[in-house]
Symmetry: D2
Subunit: 284 residues, 4 copies
């Protein structure tokens, strides 16, 4: 007996009977649904759903689930993804010099809150190598300049392949990935240190201070070719006042960045996120 | 063609196939589900769900939906409630002297945010009669003393029957309903001016000030025979500091009370709340 | 004996002894300080302070306080403003068609939370005239077109003079004031229905929906010649999800707009706001 | 030239001229005030203030500041404390088995956000010894039973003396200190994993789940002889829903506990907290 589950993330044109058809597929094969959530975007005419069921007692072998479901999904014009809870994802963390998001992710992974492995760190600086060593994570120092960017990204991509990485987390990487990189490795989550779309680009805390805002935020999003324009996964804010200078904003912001990035990575690892039309549905 | 919908709120012992069976019931009768949400309380062994579908094109007449569904529900040991979106609920608002929650509810009802009628106001004070008149709501001044409480509550209950009331909202009523009242009219929502279970009972802002808390809250809950112990529907908080004296807490708290009570009433009117085991599931 | 107070709001180049000099001025004339707060912007080299003291027992007559303080302030190159708590400010509210901020301001003024008079409403639409009448506020319907804007603003300015208005509150006015208007009447607070600087301009909720943000906000600011660029006084946010469509964002946003605008107007009326360098200091 | 500052925290019966007298003391001795904040509790008749000034250019030597100020303070019946910014406080962290608050405090201290030394850890369990070693902190495993509590606390107190500890932080220590301990070492901050005064005592997350609250919180407070009744320094909350079981509450709560405890310790180290009447004033 096992606690393992399978999860389907499905998008398709809205139409009658979708909930019934998907639920029947699980039930008629002996599955016990433990989570089912759905969302209909009426404007877009789209139905999106997440269904998770126990594999214990399910009559289809893992290899057959996909093909069997596809027989239902194809006539309905669905796109879908299938995940198994015991297939542990592998994360590469990209960093620059700041360690707060990195340490936070490692702590959560060690404490069991993030079901993933972290075998690889990549940085344009050598500063955080000691942390990598301490936690037995391989560390590659790949300095980036304007001139060598594509070439160095090729090395990064080669490492992602070599380490069999499923997800890249930019934990304050402070470098813009090229569209070429993103085309080749689309599963990347970034933490931007502002309440997007306010303060796109560099030095958002400096910008926020100058604008005199009374609240600052942080935003985790999937990385796309447009800088800071990718689908937003999670945001959080904290109140500030005239007493807070830029240094205070940075300090308060770090607490936001840690928690926002961690929540986004956790939702991704639990297969709770569906992206469509530059937006996310995050099933709870 | 109509935009009317039907909603089922269902609780039953957890078991395989529930999602499929309920969805099939809707689909096989030609219904289009526009909202389906579920929750499993594994500890309690309970499955709870809310299903809403369009009546347009549904093959069962309204009178038949209940009996037809019961044929499915009974073998599964479900308890269930059925609602129609065009059956507008009737609210009685109980008040004392404070008008902020009352005016807020009326404004929301007038603006279309609360789909309900408000034909009746009952108060132990005459103060808010002018507001009732202005909005053409019948107002009954029923003063309560220790001695006449049961007798006066009998008058209140008679009015609830007479006006065909579905829901009582205690909008700062400042009186404790007797168990007898609650037994006869169980659909009552109260706003308590604290972050329950902190500061049960009288003068919560005074208590909060004395305790020196840094955050205050408000709580909307269903009324049960135990004072301030009913199932919590919604809570909200706001930060305070040493600069806030009791008057400030009361002022800040009013903004909380208005919004928390309104959210709770709205969730109730949209049939989003299931109560079990002194807790609520509020489907979003 | 009186509870009246005087308040000085002072800005000057930072230098030694400012707190002592200002406090001595009050003390040596027999005043009892009940609130003193200060802020130093080290980058700007500016000292900003708010001092409030009881007039009861103060030895200088009201007419003499300004001149006497100026003898201290001038050598220190201070700019300053002097207010008396019993000099009730007069507010004109500009509206279009939406009533939620208007009703909220009126309710707070009636309940004593906003120490001000509201003798005047101006609108480019006739819709809210009934509310004005109900609360005995004079209402002027002054329709604005591209062609007649300056001319109509001249009428508005004439009304502000005639009614002796101290503060204009744009309670969802939905019109851009010309630089000419602002030059002639600079004391104007606007509520913008987004978390500025995100979503400047028209239809911010539509923009927020399209961008897929997980939190929305509202911003109260002083109006300057640059659209939505004026000094921010107050902001507040609320969480949203994929389940919220534009109509939901608007509904949730209304609750933010009400409370943010009210807090900003209250801070202004209590002389808690100092503006410098397109920023505000809001003393608490 | 130095950036060092002195800070006075002063409480005294409210009376005319206090701001002037204290500011004059600094100014007449050549000091430049960089932060002055005050609070008057009118009900208690108390004036509380925090004044920080630059030591550079101040004419009194450090040893003389106290006696000189006392000459002013005594006739006014003030109690006061004097701190110097370069006198780094020494913290002992008490832990049980959970590491999240501990690691967070260490990270903040290492990153410079907490100006303190952490030479000592004490635990009733051996579990976190490896972390102590990694950061070169001395670790003492002092198991507590009902029978040996006073005796073991004597050992703890001896260590506090030996290591010259200024502040004890209970970072999820999960043990109740005896009144005897608290009498001997009163400077102790605890993190309680609930929104006090809700859910005093053991298993607050279990209690919160059972009560069905929609928001959970964490509270940092000074430790007094009454369990969980000490003066509250800081609180923070996070929204939860029916989907969150006890494990989720614990996980979400950890993020609260970390940030609330860190803020409280930081405020204490910056001498921003005045305690009176079981309440705190936290100057910002």
């Amino acid at each position: 007996m096992t606690k393992n589950t399978a999860t389907l993330l499905i998008s398709c044109p809205d139409q009658r009977g979708l909930v019934a058809k998907f639920a029947n597929f699980i039930y008629s094969n002996g599955g016990n649904i433990i989570h089912a959530d759905q969302h209909t975007d009426f404007a877009a005419g789209l139905f999106l759903t997440r269904i998770e069921w126990q594999l214990d007692g399910f009559n289809l072998s893992r290899e057959l689930i996909g093909p069997a479901f596809n027989a239902i999904a194809q006539p309905l014009k669905c796109t879908w993804q299938l995940y198994f809870s015991d297939s542990i994802r592998r994360i590469a963390i990209f960093v620059s010099r700041q360690d707060h998001c990195l340490l936070d992710l490692i702590w959560r992974q060690r404490s069991g809150d993030l079901a993933a492995e972290i075998p690889l760190m990549i940085s344009n600086h050598p500063d955080l190598q000691a942390i990598a060593k301490q936690f037995s994570i391989d560390y590659y120092h790949i300095p980036i300049t304007k001139e060598n960017k594509l070439e160095q990204e090729a090395k990064q991509l080669e490492l992602l392949r070599q380490y069999n990485i499923d997800l890249v987390v930019l934990a304050k990487y402070m470098q813009i990935l090229t569209p070429e990189f993103i085309a080749q490795f689309p599963h990347t989550i970034n933490i931007h240190h502002s309440f997007l779309p306010a303060f796109v680009g560099a030095n958002p805390y400096q910008q926020a201070y100058k604008r005199g805002v009374k609240i600052i935020g942080a935003t985790a999003h999937y990385v796309t070719a447009d800088l800071d324009q990718g689908p937003i996964i999670e945001q959080e804010v904290v109140r500030v006042s005239h007493r807070d200078d830029v240094v205070d904003l940075i300090r308060k912001g770090k607490d936001l960045e840690r928690v926002v990035l961690a929540r986004a990575v956790r939702s991704h690892l639990q297969n709770r996120i569906l992206v469509y039309d530059d937006r996310t549905v995050v099933f709870e």
